[in-house]
């Protein structure tokens, strides 16, 4: 329905470009399940984190010099001489970490409540694309300050591509634009680091488009049976999201102002030196679980007893690392259980809890040197990571007996007879 308003200007514009109708429809009257928990805050938080990154990033780019001779100094100049440069940089640095925290919680939320299941498969897959783009963006951003970790992180990660049979080494030279990570590499990384966030913005629009087709999933994982199960997005969820934003900003500010380098690595305050590798290269914390998976494959995979190697350890590690994300793409078809929410899946719940622990353990292993016992623990973790998706979920879809589902979203709420605002508000009516 077209937006009702007294403003003739808005009506005039809206008639020609129904943007106000669209915004009203998607952000104001948009019907939302009435039982969303705080787990549903993280999507909007991710959107705000993206805006923070773009705003601080563009301002940083105005002061930054993408040249190997000047990059490190230009970042130091941002820190010391540019007005509030330290704030912009610390907000951008910690913003990246917070962006990942928020997105990881957002993804785990989806995993637990089955948000990837029909009819939200494409929504989910676009989310995975966004995750990949974020990783690429953050990786290239980390190279820009041209510290030791920037340089050696870039070297190790670009070298992953040399594992590709036949064309690998040529691809690496192509990625570098030279014979090592050097000025051409820094320049193209800066160009891409500027570009990719805007590609993310476009993907976020597709993500929301797909979301608004069927609306949010909810903690019960059942579909709304009618308007009594829904409330308008505004003011109920705008207010809830704003509250979450307040908490987010408090935590964010705590890091930016009191522990800005806590999540960083001191070696990155040493200028890049192509001749000296730091004793211990670690990626940013948000890559650690994947780094652990990469390093867990220390063995060649071949035909047993013949000595024929099909996949050497290096390629195996690379395949496992990319596979750990790729498996998310096909997740909607691996979990065939018709019940979405983990609340009603007694077995799934336990395996899921173990999965979360595994991700944390893998993260810890990724930060440890490649020695025993860390290697073995990483291998066990990697095995469980893949088994969860490829074995456990398909088996549970067949073997598990879910608990009975409630008849509707409002039923369990109303039975309690509580006076929660959302529960007593007349459905789809503004207070």
């Amino acid at each position: 329905m077209a937006l009702q308003t007294n403003s003739r200007v808005i009506r005039w514009i809206d008639h020609r470009l129904p943007i106000f109708t669209f915004m009203n429809h998607e952000l104001n009257e948009y019907p939302t399940p009435r039982n969303l928990s705080y787990m549903w805050n993280f999507g909007s938080l991710a959107g705000i984190a993206l805006v923070i990154m773009i705003v601080t990033g563009i301002l940083l780019a105005m002061q930054y010099t993408a040249h190997v001779d000047h990059a490190f100094d230009s970042v130091e100049r941002i820190m010391r001489d540019v007005n509030y440069g330290w704030l912009l940089r610390y907000a951008h640095m910690n913003g990246a970490s917070f962006f990942f925290i928020v997105v990881y919680i957002h993804i785990l939320r989806g995993l637990y409540y089955g948000s990837y299941k029909a009819p939200r498969e494409i929504l989910w897959m676009i989310g995975v694309v966004i995750l990949l783009l974020m990783m690429a963006t953050a990786f290239m951003g980390y190279v820009l300050p041209w510290g030791q970790m920037s340089f050696w992180g870039a070297t190790v990660i670009t070298n992953l591509f040399s594992a590709i049979p036949l064309v690998g080494p040529d691809i690496v030279v192509w990625l570098w634009g030279g014979f090592s990570v050097d000025n051409p590499t820094l320049n193209r990384f800066f160009a891409l680091h500027y570009l990719l966030p805007f590609v993310i913005v476009a993907m976020v629009f597709l993500h929301l488009w797909a979301l608004h087709r069927f609306g949010s999933n909810n903690p019960l994982g059942i579909d709304a049976k009618g308007p009594q199960d829904k409330i308008p997005f505004h003011p109920y969820y705008t207010v809830k999201d704003l509250y979450g934003l307040g908490v987010f900003l408090i935590l964010f500010a705590a890091f930016v102002f009191f522990a800005p380098n806590y999540m960083g690595h001191p070696d990155n305050y040493i200028e890049a030196d192509p001749l000296v590798t730091p004793a211990h290269i670690v990626p940013e914390w948000y890559f650690l679980p994947f780094y652990a998976i990469l390093r867990a494959i220390t063995f060649d995979i071949g035909i047993p007893f013949t000595g024929i190697v099909l996949i050497d350890a290096k390629l195996g590690g690379v395949i496992a690392m990319f596979g750990s994300i790729a498996v998310l793409f096909v997740l909607p078809w691996l979990d065939g259980s018709p019940v979405r929410s983990g609340r009603f899946r007694p077995l799934f719940k336990q395996f899921f809890a173990l999965f979360v622990v595994t991700c944390l353990v893998l993260g810890y292993m990724g930060a440890m040197p490649a020695e025993q016992p860390y290697v073995t623990i990483s291998q066990i973790g990697t095995a469980y990571y893949f088994a969860y998706f490829l074995v456990i979920l398909p088996l549970l879809s067949v073997l598990e007996r879910p608990k009975p589902l409630p008849a509707s979203i409002s039923e369990p709420v109303l039975r309690g007879g509580g006076t929660v605002a959302g529960a007593t508000a007349k459905p789809m009516e503004k207070p």
Partner: protein, 182 residues
């Protein structure tokens, strides 16, 4: 009679259209590929990067047992003046036992001079072992701290995740004790 003529006409028309469709598509695809290639190739090393591709190194100041690191194409190149014991250690290994079988003789021009790209063939770290105080790994050559690769006194991979021996760049002796790398 008119019917058959029409039908035949139709068939001819159809195959002509298919042909035109395919031909136009093929021309378009070739054109697109021709346009994309320069874009892809622009990312490959440029002429000025390639121009820096060879260097001269004077080996005279490097005493026996000493090692130096020079930069070639932005990469470290390790040059070690090997001792008799190191050469002996490198040559006494059974080549078939190696991960990447290669006799020491195939990796050097003059046995006392070992010249290699100092980049771990695993994921590109610079192995330790050039300075006297560095750990040299279990085989007395180099040790890559990133993921624990051990190289011997011929720069061959002996233990750890690296798949290949350290690369030997193309180089030639330009005098008694001077080389040109690249």
């Amino acid at each position: 009679m008119a019917d058959t003529a029409n039908a035949r006409q139709g068939v001819e028309d159809q195959s002509k259209r298919d042909f035109l469709y395919l031909a136009a598509g093929a021309v378009g695809a070739v054109g697109a590929a021709a346009a994309v290639w320069p874009m892809i190739d622009s990312l490959n090393p440029s002429a000025d990067v390639l121009a820096l591709a060879s260097i001269d190194v004077d080996l005279a100041p490097v005493a026996v047992g000493q090692a130096i690191t020079v930069t070639w194409r932005g990469k470290p190149v390790f040059i070690r003046h090997r001792t008799e014991a190191e050469i002996e250690a490198a040559r006494s290994v059974d080549v078939d036992d190696l991960v990447d079988p290669q006799p020491d003789e195939a990796r050097v021009i003059e046995p006392q001079w070992l010249v290699m790209v100092g980049i771990c063939t695993h994921l590109g770290c610079v192995p330790l072992g050039q300075r006297p105080s560095d750990p040299k790994g279990e085989y007395g050559g180099w040790f890559c701290p990133c993921h624990g690769s051990h190289y011997d006194t011929s720069g061959r991979i002996r233990r750890g995740p690296a798949p290949r021996n350290l690369d030997v760049p193309t180089y030639a002796f330009s005098g008694e004790s001077a080389i040109t790398i690249g």
